[in-house]
Amino acid sequence: VSVEIMTMAQAINSALHLAMDADSRVVVLGEDVADPIGGVLKITKGLSTKYGRDRVRATPIAETGIVGAAVGLALGGYKPVAEIMFMDFTAVCLDQILNHAAKLRYMSGGHTPVPLTIRTGVGTRRFGAQHSQNLEAWFMHTPGIKVVVPATAADAKGLLTACIADPDPCLFLEHFDLVFAEKGEVPVGAHQVPLGEAAIRRPGQDITVVAYGTQVRNALTAAEELAERGIAAEVIDLRTLVPLDMPTVLDSVERTGRAVVVHDAHTFCGPGAELAAQITEQLWGELQAPVLRLGAGPSPVPFADALDFHPCAADIVAAALKTIGQA
């Protein structure tokens, strides 16, 4: 497979172009998604020029209208890809996402599936508290919607392709810290990464660090530092939170006997709580230490750098050492 170096933004754009090209039922809708702007981050650039404004619809600023129309399009036989500019704005249309997209297959006894992809951006701290929250736990808590968080450019392309092809609603998170900064080799042409399969980014036998999204790079940096101390950390990138690849996680922790779970979402009731609980329930006898969680603190996201509370590589190193008893 030939590859090219691209940013995550370019990889997402490539996946959208390929999906629209391969299937005329794929339609894109959201605020500003049409050319010339091609999305506020230009991720949908070129789509409306190539596929027309019938299939690429710049909508009013109306998140409930956007996701509701996307649910209707899905019921009508289309494969809509809706963009919600910032993840915080999903709060404006949670009813359509959680009560409709996620529940319609089940409530109808399988008669009304909703093959819908919602792409949404997770802002950085510099936008303030209403544009930067990592809310994936909200969606994990409602059965019926898949939650997908790429950490690399190649995965962004492959996972988005899988989301669009999937027969169920998928929430696809694009973290602004990764969209332009994360660059890597991306397969040219069709590329699909199955949903529900975690990736082991670095093998190790002493401790398991479970991460996803932005925290994968911090986990890899931390693993480097731990290696200098003679500790071999295994880094797992979950890639999708629903479906959750527990077999890969449990297999790893069974070998290492220690685990740290890290994410940008709040620690309290965050995805790490679920992982820690499942690991503890399944591997109580094998664990050498309690499973530790690292995440954002229990306040809205502060604007000032000095108040930032997202875990960094040093936090992961410290947690790993504590777990190993070297803190």
Binding site: P60, A69, G76, N99, M107, S108, G109, T112
Partner: protein
């Protein structure tokens, strides 16, 4: 049309009665007062037109042609129900007849209907989508967002407001800045008409025109069918708060007996013909309730089916595939 009206009344009254007696443990929302609107809709709709309804969907379901036995079995949560017992009375659907979905959240079906309308546009199909909703739904944001998008893109949707003049337990004048709901639609650059929803013939004429406009590319229409809720909000709630004189005036115009009388006096049908319809409807309702109560409950292995297409997606959530 009379048969459909009589069927809706008989089914609604029977279901409400079963709730009251305790035989049916279900949140059921009666449709008494809407029979004329629902029946007119049933006659005006073509088979490939699509319908999105609300939790008060019994009349709409029967109007669109959903199977009566399976509707009632769903209300009872039985395996032969339209949703296999997973939906209940608030979530009736029968996509085989274009009855696409019913939502339990006020106003939330309206943007979904717009999406179905966009799908019809993209298909290049001459079909219309109808969203039904109560007057209470005109207060919520989803209504306004959907109306704006439909007006903007000339989406083939008929917004059918079944105005029963009560938002749950609050009368319209106490929650709407303007009680002329049809007036709101004009702000979204679409045709708008108010009709007496107790008059099925007048309503049929209005709906036919609106549906034809949608199918022929003329864009959306807002239809306000003015009715009155002849029962409480839900099957079990009282309606002591409804002013007695208003209710008495509405009951005097109860659409089914009123329409029956007009059909009789105009000579369109004889008493014997109407009585035969009444008897046939009563038998159909008895049959459907007998079918529903005899239907087995859904088997436990269906509990986690249809969360996702692939059951193995739940393994990480603790459900073996």
């Amino acid at each position: 049309m009379y048969r459909l009206m009589a069927l809706i009344t008989a089914t609604s009254d029977r279901a409400a009665g079963e709730v009251k007696s305790g035989a049916l443990a279900s949140a059921f929302y009666p449709v008494r007062g809407l029979e004329g609107v629902c029946a007119a809709l049933g006659v005006a709709l073509q088979p490939d037109d699509q319908l999105v309804s609300t939790y008060r969907s019994l009349g709409d379901a029967l109007a669109k042609g959903a199977n009566l036995r399976r509707v009632i079995a769903e209300i009872y949560g039985r395996s032969d129900g339209l949703c296999g017992g997973k939906g209940g009375p608030m979530h009736l659907q029968d996509t085989s007849v274009g009855f696409m979905t019913s939502t339990g959240v006020v106003g939330s079906g309206i943007p979904i209907a717009v999406g179905l309308g966009i799908a019809a546009q993209l298909d290049g199909a001459a079909r219309a989508v109808v969203a039904t909703f109560g007057d209470g739904a005109t207060s919520i944001g989803a209504f306004h967002e959907a109306m704006n998008i439909a007006g903007l893109w000339k989406v083939p949707v008929v917004f059918l407001c079944q105005n029963n003049q009560w938002g749950e337990h609050t009368p319209i004048a106490e929650y709407a800045a303007s009680t002329d709901l049809a007036d709101r639609a004009r702000a979204y650059a679409m045709s708008s008409v108010r009709v007496d929803g107790f008059d099925p013939v007048a309503t049929l004429g209005v709906l036919r025109e609106a549906l034809e406009r949608a199918r022929s590319g003329g864009g959306p229409t807002f239809v306000e069918a003015l009715t009155y809720r002849l029962t409480g909000h839900s099957g079990s709630s009282d309606y002591s708060y409804v002013p007695a004189d208003e209710l008495a005036a509405a009951m005097a115009r109860d659409p089914v007996p009123t329409f029956r009388r007009s059909v009789l006096t105009s000579g369109q049908m004889s008493e014997a013909e109407l009585a035969a319809i009444d008897a046939e409807v009563a038998a159909a309702v008895d049959d459907a309730f007998a079918f529903a109560t005899a239907s087995p409950p859904p088997p436990s292995e269906t509990r986690y089916r249809d969360v996702f297409a692939d059951p193995s997606a739940l393994t990480g959530a603790g459900v073996p595939a």
